[in-house]
Amino acid sequence: MLEIKNLRASINGKEILKGLSLSVNAGEVHAIMGPNGAGKSTLSSVLTGNPAFTVTEGDVTFNGKNLLELTPENRSREGIFLSFQYPVEIPGVSMVNFMRTAVNEHRKYKNLEPMSASDFLKLQREKKELVEMDSKLANRSVNEGFSGGEKKRNEIFQMAMLDPKLSILDETDSGLDIDALRIVANGVNKLKTKDNASIVITHYQRLLDYIVPDFVHVLYDGRIVKSGGKELAYELEERGYDWIKKEVEGE
């Protein structure tokens, strides 16, 4: 589904990703872990086409298409979804209007008619339940005045609405208490099918108790330096990252 080969990317002239390779297939959950500054969020930004980052080398294909040539909106329409680490507040744009626009732009891309108002409301109601989102939030401006937990639930709600093929969860656990974490993780698990895949970016092993990965990768200094099964996450939790750094630097 996703094939990243030797990806190099920089921001303001500073190279962050230094030859990253990763392959994700349908039905898989990949966890990417790593210390601060390793390039975890850069990876999600580059995959979604954030204009702040420049790709200097490498290839990314998504279901056979050259992802790097697509605009951010077309990446989304092709089925890539990023749950933002810091969801953006957009005062004055209502959640309903925002979501309806997004859903209909996705439909337009697939040559489908816009969704009727009643179908949209039905879909919205259904998906809101998935993350136990307060229905009042839908009438507010996008993320404006939402608590940390509400913002993250809102991300998963949007994911449910757009039904992506590949979802990237960037530090979705940060700022969540244990109940919110369970709700969010539960939402993600319910959305999982054999046809879609997830990349879970996280600092801590905690989230992986709820969203169980098939593969765990350690990102350090812009590259994936170690990969393994879910047991690698426990090892990292126990031993920290220092031993990895030593291993890499010892090479």
Partner: protein, 466 residues
């Protein structure tokens, strides 16, 4: 336009004798002041010579003046406009040409063609509540002269301003509205200013609005141009809002880019009165709105807001003053501009708090988005506070669209152009929310969206009236 009758050129006095500029208008006045007076009302003529003397002294304002430094009117004031001094009827029937299309607004509808009040013939204008008078100043000067003498020119004649002085010298008529004590108008009054001429044309009018104690009224003013000639309008509106009265003033400009709109809105508030003024410029040529609200009573509530969407070489200058003369009043001011291409915007927010105006709460905000580097915005908060127990704040920002918000939307599959549109629309939203006539609010939302999409390149009817 069905009505293509030419206005007889010989009936329009052109000021071009001796070049265009102050001098030609001064000559015009000297040679025609008798005609001007003959076709006007005595209450207006009473102030006319003094206004003319003031205009002779001040001339047209130039950028050398602090109050006019952001908008150079020299070019638009040098155009050779016709004036309809002999009050020849303009061959247009607004009731035939313009059909109101604000669904559900149900207003009392009135037209001013250029600077003349158009006789009411629309059957939709059901009977006004008892005692409410709406008509032309000239007409009311005959039927109710006592209503004019106490008010006419009281706010405008003390101003040292060349445009207001010019208005005093040349205005021959205007819109008049009177709402008696404790009368609440159940529907908004809608006043459509239609500019109609076959030659470059100037309209000069002086409006007067009086709300007695406890009265409530909403006025919606739409500026609208019909013909493709150059227009200049110079309108002064005086509004007196008595104790406990509530007045809402909505001004919606959607004119073509050969239009110059010089408007002065002067509002005087008595004890515990409430005023909302919302000035929206959707499409225009050159616009200068001078707005002054005097809080001359205690416990007043004032909300002044506005919005500008301008592109190409459009210019909009909102020059506003809120004068707190008495204690315990609250004022809030909010202006937002979206400027594209080489549009120029200017905002001045004067806030004056007199020594005795303790417990004043006054908040001012001006936020501006420049969509291109070539657009220009000048903003000037100007606070003069002489009382010591007050809460006052001001904020002004000039920026571009929020890139992180735009990316967030794109990451959800929303195209860049649609994301920009949603952001621009959201930016203006709080000004639109300040419209308290629901049907008008819906209509303006739709128009703003159309305007931002670039689909409203020129006025569509009066926006309100097609």
């Amino acid at each position: 336009m069905e009505n293509t009758n030419k206005i007889d050129g010989s009936n329009i006095k052109s000021p071009s004798i001796g070049g265009v500029g102050e001098a030609s208008y001064i000559d015009l006045y000297k040679s025609h002041h008798e005609s001007i007076k003959k076709h006007s009302a005595s209450v207006m003529n009473g102030l006319r010579d003094a206004s003319f003397a003031q205009f002779e002294k001040l001339g047209f304002p130039t950028v050398a003046l602090e109050n006019y430094k952001y908008t150079d009117l020299k070019e638009v004031l040098s155009i050779d406009y016709g004036l309809n001094i002999n009050r020849i009827p303009i061959p247009v029937n607004p009731y035939d040409v313009f059909k109101c299309d604000v669904p559900g607004i149900h207003s009392y509808l009135y037209f001013v063609v250029n600077d003349g009040f158009y006789p009411v013939t629309d059957p939709r204008n059901t009977k006004l509540p008892d005692g409410v008078i709406i008509g032309s100043v000239k007409e009311v000067a005959v039927t109710h002269p006592e209503l004019l003498t106490d008010y006419f020119g009281k706010l405008s004649s003390t101003k040292e301003d060349g445009l207001i002085a010019f208005n005093g010298a040349f205005a021959q008529d205007g819109f008049f509205m009177y709402v008696p004590e404790n009368v609440v108008l159940d529907k908004p009054i809608q006043l459509v200013n239609i500019m109609r001429a076959d030659v470059d044309f100037m309209a000069v009018s002086h409006n007067l609005i009086i709300l007695e104690k406890g009265a409530k009224a909403q006025l919606l003013v739409c500026d609208h141009t019909v013909d493709e000639v150059r227009f200049l309008s110079n309108r002064v509106t005086e509004v007196f809002v008595a104790e406990n009265a509530t007045y809402e003033h909505y001004k919606l400009e959607n004119t073509h880019n050969k239009t110059t709109n010089l408007s002065t809105l002067l509002i005087d508030q008595a004890n515990s009165s409430t005023v909302l003024a919302n000035v929206i410029t959707l499409h225009n040529g050159v616009t200068r709105n001078m707005i002054e609200i005097d809080l001359d009573g205690e416990g007043c509530e004032t909300e002044l807001c506005g919005m500008v969407i301008a592109d190409k070489n459009q210019q909009v200058d909102n020059f506003t003053s809120i004068i707190h003369n008495k204690p315990n009043c609250n004022s809030r001011e909010l202006f937002k501009y979206v400027l594209d291409d080489t549009a120029k915007g200017a905002f001045t927010g004067k806030l004056y708090v007199a020594k005795d105006a303790q417990k004043t709460a006054a908040f001012q905000t001006n936020r501006n988005i420049l969509l291109k580097k070539t657009a220009k915005m000048r903003t000037k908060p100007q606070l003069e506070i002489y009382a010591d127990d007050v809460k006052c704040s001001h904020g002004a920002t000039i920026g571009s669209l929020d890139e992180t918000a735009k990316f967030y939307m794109q990451a959800r599959g929303i195209s860049e152009s649609e994301a920009r549109l949603l952001l621009m629309f959201a930016f203006t939203n709080d000004v639109i929310e300040n419209i308290r006539i629901p049907a008008l609010q819906d209509r303006i939302k739709m128009l703003v969206e159309k305007r931002l999409r670039g689909e409203l390149s020129k006025c569509e009817g009066c926006v309100i009236c097609q």
